[in-house]
Structures are given as structure tokens and as C-alpha cells.
């Protein structure tokens, strides 16, 4: 839906129906749309997780160092 929306066609939905009910497909589609929008918005606000991977409360500066300048999903290697 995000990187190649044209690929989400009738054939794709036929494949989805083999595994999910129509209720579940609508739930997934709305969930993906919601996250697609909000992750981009939140990414533009430059805020980072409050806790480090080992559970420590950290500052935003330290969190940025820990988690990187861009979300993992937006890094080039994630697209490979």
C-alpha cells in the first residue's frame, strides 16, 4: 500500500481472502492506512522512544543516538 499501491489489485485481494475474512481485511487495510499516515507525521516531529532497549528512561538526545536519525523502516537497507 505504501511503496507500490498499484500492486494491491483484485488478484491481491483474492489472495488475501484465502487467509482472512472480509472483516479482517478491512481492519488490516484501515490499520495500515492509519499507520502509513501517522508514522510519516510523527517522523517529521523528530521524537524518539522514552526508553532504551534495556528499559532505561533516556533523554531525547540519547534516544536519538540509540535509535538513529531515521526510523528503521525508512533506512535504505530496510527497502532491500
Amino acid at each position: 500500500m505504501s511503496v507500490n499501491p498499484d500492486a494491491v489489485d483484485a488478484g491481491f485481494f483474492d489472495q488475501l481472502r484465502k487467509h482472512y475474512s472480509e472483516e479482517e481485511i478491512v481492519e488490516l487495510g484501515a490499520f495500515i492506512g492509519f499507520n502509513l499516515g501517522y508514522h510519516t507525521f510523527f517522523g517529521s516531529l523528530k521524537f524518539y522512544p522514552l526508553f532504551s532497549p534495556d528499559g532505561r528512561l533516556v533523554s531525547q538526545a540519547e534516544s536519538e543516538r540509540l535509535y538513529g536519525a531515521a526510523p528503521t523502516s525508512l533506512r535504505p537497507e530496510a527497502a532491500k
Partner: protein, 187 residues
Amino acid sequence: MTHIAPLPREAITDPELRALMAEGEALGVPDDLFPRIIARAPEQAAPLMRALLMSHARGNVDHTLKEIMRILLARFAKDKYFAGLRSTKARDMGLTEMRIDEGCFKYEDDSKGFSEAEKCALRYADLMFLDASQLDKTFYDEMKKHWSEAQIMELGAFIAFHYGMQMFMRSLGAVSRTTSIPAGEPI
């Protein structure tokens, strides 16, 4: 024909969803297709409709500006459903198709008369999914000259939510049946 068939209207019995559907139809955005599709996921339907209507038609930012931003985003998303819908409230406030097109394609042109605040908000919608890297500290500092932090959050959440639902409806192959756009006008 959408990839997921909408429920018949009479199959929707949740009074809250029925009221929200009526509110959407009165506004013109959305018509009954969106709620009849999301009604297939009953737990999701009313909250999604409520968020869609609230973010568009309420709040502390001019509704006609949000309507232009909504259409700009739908056109960018190549979503024929939401791009084809028009807010009757915005139309009654004086918004025309010509002004919508100017807001979508020529808002930076000083001769079109958009204020600096409006230009900033339209740029926000334009850049969010075109190149979010440009929404940096400098951009937000410029936004803050024209909009309160509450208004910036209202605009950002509006952009994020509507674009997400537009991509969802595009994926379903949805097309508006109730468009009020004159024939020949761009969708």
C-alpha cells in the same frame, strides 16, 4: 465495484455509526460508501468515521483551507474516491473548484492571494508524503510564525489520517458515486 463490497445500508444497525454516516452525507465527505465498507469491521467503524469527520469539519483551522488540503492529498494519493467528494460546508463558505485547483497546484504563486499562513499549511500537506525530510526544524519554525502548536498538531493529524484513509480507499479501487464536480473538471 470495490474489492470489498460495501454493506447494504439496512445492515448497519449501530446507532452511532448511522448518525455519523448521516453527518458525513450532510457534509458530503464521506458519502455512504466509506462507512458501508468500514462497517464490515464493526469495532473499527465508528471510531474511524468519528476521526474522519472531527478532523475535517471541526477544530480551530478554517474548514475551507482543510478542504483544499484534503483534495490536494487525495489527488497526490491518486484516490478517485475522496478526490471526487466535496464538502457542502466549504462550498457554502464560498470555496469554488477554481480556488481548489489554485490551492492544489499554484498556492505558491503570489498572484493567487494565499496568505503566508495558508501557504505554510498547504506546503505541509504537499511535502508530508512527497518529501517529509523537508519538514525539518526550519519548516516547523516557519509554521509557528502563523499557527499555534495546537493548530499545527490539528493540521498534522488531519493530514496523516486523511491521507491514510485515502490510500486505503485507493487500494480498494473505490470511486465516488456522489461527486458534485462538473464534468471535465480534474479529479
